[in-house]
Amino acid sequence: MISKHLTTISKRVIKQLILDKRYLALSTIAPLVIIGFYKLFADAITSSTPGFVIARYAIPISAFIVHFLCFILCAIALVQERKDGTLERLFINGVHKTSIIGGYALGYFGLATLQSVIVLTETIWLFDLDFTSGEIILIFIVIWLLAIVSVLLGIFVSTFARSEGHVFPFIPLLILPSIFLSGLLIDVSLLPNPVQIFSHLLPLNYANNILQDIVFDDLNMHETLQNIGILLGYAICLWILASSTLKETE
């Protein structure tokens, strides 16, 4: 029953996303524009800082953009459902919390995939990056996995929120530290020890580990699989957590 409800809900979410043209257009255009601005910024730094290796930052920062956007777009998903009264209606129709979280996650995975493809394609093209097809596939898998984690993180946060306003405080709390602490700008090992513990809690840290190894041609199969495993673990844990924090009764 859980899987049947999950499929029914995910089909409905996908249909809603497709029908909401404005939301879909903004979700597609936003990453395109942000990557465009990022390229202008990177060009300015490259021309003024001799020896600056843009490849070290281009892909990881693109991954962060996907992480940020997927989180934001999903964080209000259940808020809307709760406000409109349809969440209560789902419960009355006997839908289990796991099916609701899973249905939403599956529905938004499509959007996450679309954003990952857009961001990766534009970054490689604009920054004129040179990767083998195998590396591109691995980069896509990592960014896509990070997007999935972001979707589930957004859904997890939205289980607490009663209005869109409740979601906003989570953005600086959960997403912005990733810029400084997940190895995006400087290596995590250069950070003070207590901060490193926090860095290891951030999913972007594990995605960044693999992306840096690809950029510097230093891939280690064991480490890569370990980092991918951790990202998958994040996704599963967030699904379970979101399923337990979604309240069925008041």
């Binding site: 409905r12 249909k15 029908l19 789902l90 009355i92 006997g94 008041e250």
Partner: protein, 287 residues
Amino acid sequence: MSSPFAIVVKEISRSYGEIKALNKISLDIPEGKIFGLLGPNGSGKTTLIRSLIGSLEPDSGLLTVLGKNPIKDRFELRKHIGYMPQLSAVYEELSARDNIRFFGELQEVEDLENKVQSILEFTELTHRAEDPVRTYSGGMKKRVSLACAMIHEPKLLFLDEPTAAVDPHLKIQSWELFRKLAENGTTIVVSTHLMDEAFRCDQLCILNRGELIAMDTPKGILEKGRTTLSFKRNGKEEQQEISSEPTALAQTLKSFGLEADIHSIELYPDTIEDIVLRMVDKNTIPE
């Protein structure tokens, strides 16, 4: 032993902070009847309905719905309960057909497409069935919501102010349907603050500030009232206040020459809604 009551409520209370939304409410709702919850806004009608459907947990007291606990046995009850909330609670981007189909799929309704079509016809939504619900009027959204609550033909239907913002024509049609459903064994619990609607119920419970202040048939409640008779005789007006019981009017009119064997008189004047509807119907009959 099975209970003749679809719902049994014993001394349930529920507070929101300092506010007592329900205070030791007890009532039994018989099967196959239309049971009305009447009261002003904030009287506890919605809190009571939400407790009965398992959305709210009472602070104290016991309640059973179709012999089950609405929270613990939620998954067993789901096929037998339909709920139409006060908000439309439908997906605005989807069409009416998609919304009804979605809830039908969740309830695993057999022969779903035909049932969706017939419920669209009943709610007079066929001409807009494929349009997004966000383009509908408030009344049309209510109709979609009602259709979503009924698609699985539940034994017990909870309707929270179902006809608010619905035009009089559909309101009457809806009540005809509720009556038909009740005659076929469906128990209907309906909340309203509209008196004319309340008097279409088989039994009424009046709530105020979380307290149950009366429970009776609509006729029984009417009889608790007073009726003022106004007479004009030789240009002079006299008034007399009598009990609203039908026998009291007959008794009073005997002194005006009413035949002795008439024991009871009841008046059923048209409501303003009946009068307007008749005018509208007359006006829309094709030449």
